[in-house]
Each structure stands twice: as C-alpha cells, then as structure tokens.
Amino acid sequence: MTAAVTDGHAVRADEIVVRFGAQTVLDRATMHLAAGEVVALVGPSGTGKSTLLRVIAGIVSPDAGRVVIDGVDVTTSPTHRRGVGMVFQDNQLFPHRRVVDNVAFALQMRGVSKHERHSVASEWLGRVGLDGYGQRRVQGLSGGEAKRVALARSMAAAPKVVLLDEPLTGLDRDLHDRLATDLAALLRDTSTTALLVTHDHSEAATIADRTVALADLQSSS
C-alpha cells in the first residue's frame, strides 16, 4: 500500500490539518507515541483534542497531514483496517447486544469462533472487575460498569493503540478515582500503547506516562 516508516514509534500523527467549514480545528498538529507508552493529551474542551483522536482512528479524515500506525501510513485507510481500539466519551455500547457480545465484537469481526471469543471476552470482563456480567443487557449497567465494558470491548482484540476520548468524564469523584487507578494498572499490565484525551490534569497524571498540551502540538500557537 504505502512505504513503511520505521522509526520505533507506534503512532505518528504528522502535521494534521482539519477544517470544518471556515473554522480550522487542527492546524498542523503533530504528535508521536512510542510503543507501550501512555500519553495524555490535555487542553480545554472544544479545542480539537477529540478531533485529533478521531483523525488517528480514521473517523475524521484530515485536510492535510499523515497518520502512521506501526510503521504503516494509514492516512487513507478506513477505520476498520487500522487496528485501533477506542473508548468513546458516551461509551457507544451496542444496545441490542448483551455485555459479552459487546466485548467479543472485535473478535467476531476477525472470524474467531463463538466459543473462543466468549471465553476471551469473559476473561476481559474479569480483568475489568465485571466477572459474571456477560449475560446482562447493557441498558441495565451503571455508569461505571458501562465504562468498564467499553474499555474491555476496545482492548479485547489487542489493538495496536487504544484511544480514550474523555473516558472518565461525568462520573462521580469516588468512582472516577477508582476507575482512573484501575485503568492505569490495566494499560501498564498489558503494555498497551494508549492516547488519553482529557481536560483533567490530575487524571492525566494518574494514568499517563507523559502529558502534552494540544496547544504545544500545533504550529501557529
């Protein structure tokens, strides 16, 4: 497809430009993640942090710039061929599927047999502290439980990078702190490369190895 770019970085977003109409949301933003690194991208809301995440995921196509994942230029690849996992701010769990079938979705897309994907999904549910939740409907889950399911779903097929879009926003303080600690441990235990978008600096410090401000990534600011 495209020439491989091998420089040790798991994810590179180079000189990304995104315009929505007359408004420039991202102006030549550049950011790199090393393999296994957890980076927090901070900044006030509405400044394009989530847009950068979506560009890396392929949900938003940039007006200019380049995205490289694991040495492969994926700028023009569709989302489903990029091997990313993503946790959405509002989870976006599939309401017509039970918990286990949400977690097993990526494995199902890869053609893993039902028996095997259910056993992997159950294992992941255990890892996020939801043993025995597999047969529940997602509508009955609490905010924290739904977040854990979304996390397990995004990681169950071992993506090359996990993108977390304000994953802990809107949870109450206690729950927020507990989940932040669990999330940090989980990412480290699995050596997952992850990019966390948040407006909360203490959350960033708890979870990430390194914190960057969006403003520092852009050329004109």
Binding site: R54, A57, G58, I59, S61, P78, T79, H80, R81, R82, G83, V84, G85, M86, F88, D90, Q92, F94, P95, H96, F105, A106, Q108, M109, R110, Q139, R153, S154, A157, P159, L163
Partner: protein
Amino acid sequence: MDRAGARVIRPPAWLVVALATIPIAALALFYAWPLATLFAETLGTDAVADTVRRPTTREVLWFTFWQAVVSTGATIAIGLIPAWLLARFDFHARAVVLGTLTAVFVLPTVVVGGAVLAVLPESIERSTWAIVIAHVLFNIAVVVRLVGALWERLPTDLGAAAATLGAGPWRTFRFVTLPLLRPALLATASAVFVLTFTSFGVIRIVGAPGTRTVEVEVWRRATQLGDIAGAAVLTIIQLVVLGLVLGAAALLQRRWTIALDLAPTRRRRVRTTRERQTVGVVASVTMAVVAIPLVAMVVASFSSPTGWTLAGWTNLDGGEIRPGLRVGVDSMAAITASLRFAAWATLFAVIVGGLASLAIAATQRAGRLLDVGLTLPIATSAVTIGLGLLITFDAPPVDWRAEWWLVPVGQALVAVPFVVRAIVPTLRAIDPALLAAAGTLGASPARAWRAVVLPMAGRPLVAAAGIAAAISLGEFGATSMLSRTGDQTLPLAIESLLGRTGSSLQAQGYALATLLAAITVVLMIAAERTTDR
C-alpha cells in the same frame, strides 16, 4: 406547571358534544352499521361453508398472501437504499428526491399501475412481476419515511465504534444498523403488507387476466357474479388474516423494542469525492427508477403505431360513431363525473373531518376514541367499505343504492382520516395561554374558543380539502363497488381503457392517467403549501 395544566380553558362540554354529533352519526351510519350488517348477514349462513370449501378461495388467498410477502420484501430491500441516502446525507437534490418518492405514494393506484404498464416490455407487462414492480414503486416512500425517521437519529458514533472494532461498512450495517432498525422495519413491513395484501387498482391494471387477490375476487363476486354473500365472507376472511398479521407484528414489536439514546438528526454534508460519487449515483438511480415509468406514461399518451399523435388527448368523446354508441370511453363524461363526485366527497369529508377535528382537539380521552374510530376506515379496505354500503342500503326505507350521493359518501369515508390528520396537529399546537388571555378579557369559554381556535382552523381546513379532493379523485376500490353505469369516474375509465386492445384506446387511457396524476400532484402540493405558510 401543574396548576396551569389543570386550569386550561376548554370549550364547554355542550359545544364539544354538538361538534362531535355529526361525525359520530356519519361514522355509525356509513361505517359501523354497514360493517355490522356485513358480519350479521353472512356469519352463520351456508355462504361461509361454501366459500371456505371452494378451491378458488384457497388459491386466491394463497396468491394474495405470497404476492404481498414478495412485494413487501422487495419494497424493503430496495427502499433501504434511498432510505440510507436520505437519512444520512445532506445534499442539494435531497428535497427533490424525497418529494418525488412521496409524490408517487400519493398518486392514485391506477396511475402507478398505468405507469408500470407503460414502461415494462410486453412480455411481462401483465404478470405477477409487474404487480410486484408496481407495489415496490408505490411503497418505497413508506420505507424512506418510516425507516428513515429512525435511521437519521441513530447515533453515528455507534457505526464509528463498530469500525474501530474492525467492522467494515457492510458488517456495520449487518451487525449494528440493521438490528437497531428492526422496530421500524417491522412497522414498515406491516404497513406495506397491509397495503399490498389489499391491493386492488394495481392488480386490475397490471395483473394478467384472471389474476385475483381477495379484493379483486370480492369485487368480481359482488359486481360481476352477483354473489354478494360469497363476497362478504371473503372480506371477513381478509379482515381476520390482516388482524392476525397485525397482532403478531404488535407482539414482535414489543419484544424488539430497544431503549435507544437517539441522537438529534444530524445529516452529514457530502465531503469527499467518493461520497459525492456515491450520493450522486444512488440519488440518480432512485430518481430514474421512480421517474422513468411516469415519463413513459406521458410518452405513451402521445404514441401510436405510426408515430406521434395527439389523438389520445383530443379524442375525448371516445370515438362516437352514432349518438350514444362509441368504440372507446367518453372521457369528458368521466372527467365531469369525477369532478362532481370529488366536489361532493370533499364537502362531506371536510364537514365530517373538520367537525371531528375540532372535537378531538378540544378533549382528551374521548377525543382520542373518536380519532381512532375515524381512522378505522383506513384499516378496512376500500372495497370492503363499498361492499358494506352496497348490502346495507339495498332495501326500503334505506334503499339508497341508486342515489347519486352514495359514491361520494364512500370516497369521503376513505378521505376523512386524512382530513383529521391534516387538521388536528395544528389545533393541538394552539397555545392554551391564548384561550386564557381571551378569558381574562371577558370572553366566555365558548366565545374564547370561537375567537381563538376557529380562525386558526381555516388554513388547515383548506389544506385538508385539497387532500380530500385528491383522494376522492383517485379513489378506485369503493368507487368500483358503488358506481353505476353512466357514472364512470376517471380511475374507472383509465382501468377500462388500459384493459382493452387498440392503440388509440391505450393512448387515451394514458392521457387520462397523465391528467389524473397532474391534478393529484397539483392538489397535494397546494395542500402542503397552504399548511407550510
């Protein structure tokens, strides 16, 4: 809020009762009584056993059923493509595509049948395939409207989530979108199934000779064979079958309903070149599929074996050889009869529907009951309504079969539910504070109602009249049952002309179908403009 709600000024009870009297009486006399007579005069008689035992009954039922199933499946499969386009994308011609699809749905069945007849090659122009094609063309708008309404509000991030989990567009559709659309798909399937199961005009126009659905068989038994009892039994069987299907659908619907966080409608502007190409191709193909048959119909009205001709449009007296004796159909007479019937039907429908709307909007629970009662004629087929009137008003003191007004009454029954739908939402939207304000200025509740509500009913009433006129002009089922010789309406004339051989008769039929289509579209657009202003 609660107190304000409780203190809403309503018109006094006597006024509501007075408003509701005429609609209730009309509904009882021309709908409930005929339907009851239909049941009473047939159930328990030999006709039931005779009809059930007759092999043709089973054949007719089976054919009606499978052609409806195939038509429904094909309509949904094909309709999902424009539904996706219109639900997900914002593009320049969006309103045109949606408007054209909707226009086809409001066209009279004989016009859609005629258009399909005009476009299909001779080998399949009168066949079951032609029936299915006409049904699909007719009902695509139902899929676009009902499925589209849910589709455009499904969060797009659910699709994005599926993509990040490795699902391409097709598998996202299959594993996420389609299951979430299930409730709307079921509602669409029920609606299209009922419409195609009770299809009458389309079958009469494009079906092969001898093709009989239950509706056609009812009409044939009642008007051609004089077997009224047999016809009545068939309408009851049809009501039972439809009741079972709709009941099963309602049960499934309850099981399939998923609580969804619906997003506000957000259609995407077309951005990339590839999107632009996809949208362009799908929109063009949709327009072509819908418009080509209609264009073919217009072209056919100017065609003859030897070339272009205006004969179809000028030969309006149907080739009168000697006074009273003609080879064709007297188009002028059909146009006059149609306009006369439509004028009366519109008047009846607007009076009954208008009064009912005022009563419905002024009350809570009782109003809803009247609303449901007035909607029932939609659920009953037009042929059944016609048959009910025919067998009820056939003996003194109510021997009204020969009365000129029975045809417009039948047409009005079909139109009233649409009149109510056109008026009630506007009335319900009137701010109760206006009534309260009139009250504080010294107006009695009745006077306040007259000063505030009545003036606002004017515009929707005019719109409703347009819709009622369009419906009665195109009405075919009830009119087929009730019309007597010499009172042929446009749809009846079109069916009769297109069913005969001879190119000049065909051209005349297509000319009348074009005329009817034009009148219908103009009336519907005028009605919509009136409402929007």
